[in-house]
């Protein structure tokens, strides 16, 4: 499957090999109370940062299931960010502590399975840390840019699946509506 390409070639991480024209796509799962507000602050403060991240807001890092990360990769993400409140700051007291253990295990297991850990960024970003969010995003995007598109995950797609939008139409005639089959 083809990766997305843009017309402009952007600067990658220092010294990292660039995949020409590759614009990484990252999904960020963030908690509502800290990181989302921090990301909002980064925006309202007009901080410059990579625009490759799509944010999905959840109540708490404790609500972020590793399956979300897997689903993001399934749907074409090249990288994922999981971020929430610093230890001791959880709106629900201990959600981030539980998440920390769960994601530590997930992090180690994914590395064992062969996923480059730089594709999954974990961070604590508070509501006041707009600048930290910018740095986390820029670094995550630079890392993924250096790693290139996550074609290894996309290669898991079954051969018989419907092509992505914008991809050439599949060979074979499209079925005219309704003429699908005659009633028995």
């Amino acid at each position: 499957m083809s990766s997305r390409r843009s017309d402009t070639i952007e600067q990658g991480a220092a010294g990292a090999p660039l995949c020409a024209g590759f614009e990484p796509r990252l999904t960020a799962f963030v908690c509502n109370w800290c990181t989302y507000t921090g990301a909002d602050l980064a925006g309202t403060s007009r901080l410059h940062m990579a625009s490759n991240v799509r944010i999905i807001r959840l109540p708490c890092t404790g609500r972020i299931d590793p399956l979300f990360v897997i689903k993001a990769f399934e749907r074409g993400a090249d990288g994922v960010i999981v971020s929430g409140c610093h230890p001791a700051d959880c709106h629900y007291t201990s959600g981030n502590y539980h998440a920390r253990r769960r994601f530590a295990v997930f992090h180690d297991l994914m590395e064992f399975v062969g996923v480059d850990p730089r594709r999954i960024t974990f961070s604590w970003v508070s509501a006041s840390e707009g600048a930290k969010w910018r740095d986390v995003v820029n670094e995550a995007v630079a890392n993924v840019r250096a790693l290139g598109p996550f074609d290894a995950y996309r290669a898991l797609a079954p051969e018989d699946e419907a092509p992505e939008d914008g991809a050439p139409e599949p060979a074979g005639e499209a079925v005219p509506t309704g003429a699908a089959r005659s009633a028995s």
Partner: protein, 276 residues
């Protein structure tokens, strides 16, 4: 062409019958297929929302009204919840008609008693309209319909219409506690109301559909009223995927609901192993 390929159909009308039950009217998009489409009362189809999957319901509109089909369903699972979200003009998938049917043509000259509970009126409604659209061919028509509450009654406008027809004896009931101040129908469970209504069994057939408990309790009452097992018809449902006798899950012992049913007589039900 694969037998699993759905036809496309446009939602041309919808009625929210109760807070969780909806009726959709569908028209096949292909004109030739629409013209060719024919079915018999009691048959079912596989309806799909693309992305959610397929679900099985009987066709709730009568074969005497052509150019469209209707289905009624309760939003309980993945597909029905998705179907609950569609709007007029949307496209859904349809496969069918499948299964056997009520032998309505064999009932010419007979009295017909319809007994339904809850959403079980959907398949019965198909037969009711089929009979009413050919009213001259049949004797007395009695309908006993019950739901948990007034709110849960489906096809409310049609219940009104049937009540007002001189050639139909309509008895509607709601479970005790389910009535409202305005309710003028019966209050009580379907089964005792059937017994009280006491339709004549001579030269009559009964069509019965509802939750398993209603069917189970009403069968002996109909027997007591003099209905032979061969004169009581019901329609069963089971989880299905293909509707074509292939996927292997809807069987009750040696009987495949999708192919050998869904319409069975009480006599046939008694032959089935107790697994439904």
């Amino acid at each position: 062409m694969s037998i699993y390929l759905p036809q496309l159909a446009t939602v041309t009308d919808l009625v929210d019958e109760t807070p969780d039950t909806r009726t959709l009217r569908l028209e096949l998009q292909d004109a030739a297929a629409r013209a060719r489409f024919a079915f018999k009362a009691g048959q079912f189809g596989e309806y799909s929302v693309f992305g959610a999957g397929e679900s099985t319901f009987c066709i709730a509109s009568p074969p005497t009204r052509q150019g469209f089909i209707e289905c009624s369903f309760k939003a309980v699972g993945k597909v029905t919840t998705a179907l609950r979200e569609v709007n007029i003009g949307d496209t859904v998938g349809f496969r069918g008609p499948y299964g056997n049917w009520f032998p309505v043509d064999d009932w010419k000259g007979n009295d017909i008693v319809f007994v339904a509970g809850g959403i079980g009126l959907a398949p019965v409604r198909c037969v009711i309209w089929n009979v009413l659209d050919r009213r001259d061919e049949f004797g007395d028509v009695t309908i006993v319909y019950g739901a948990r509450s007034v709110e849960d009654l489906v096809y409310k406008r049609e219940l009104q219409e049937w009540s007002s027809r001189p050639d139909v004896r309509m008895v509607a009931t709601v479970d005790p506690g389910g009535q409202t101040a305005e309710w003028t129908g019966e209050v009580g469970y379907v089964t005792p109301v059937v017994e009280k209504t006491a339709p004549a069994a001579a030269n009559a057939v009964a069509v019965l559909c509802g939750p398993p408990i209603v069917v189970k309790l009403t069968l002996p009452v109909l027997a007591k009223l003099g209905f032979a097992d061969e004169a009581i018809f019901t329609t069963l449902e089971n989880r299905m995927k293909c509707g074509l006798g292939k996927c292997g899950r809807c069987n009750i012992g040696p009987v495949y609901v999708c192919k050998d049913g869904p319409v069975f007589t009480a006599a046939q039900l008694k032959q089935l192993p107790p697994e439904f």
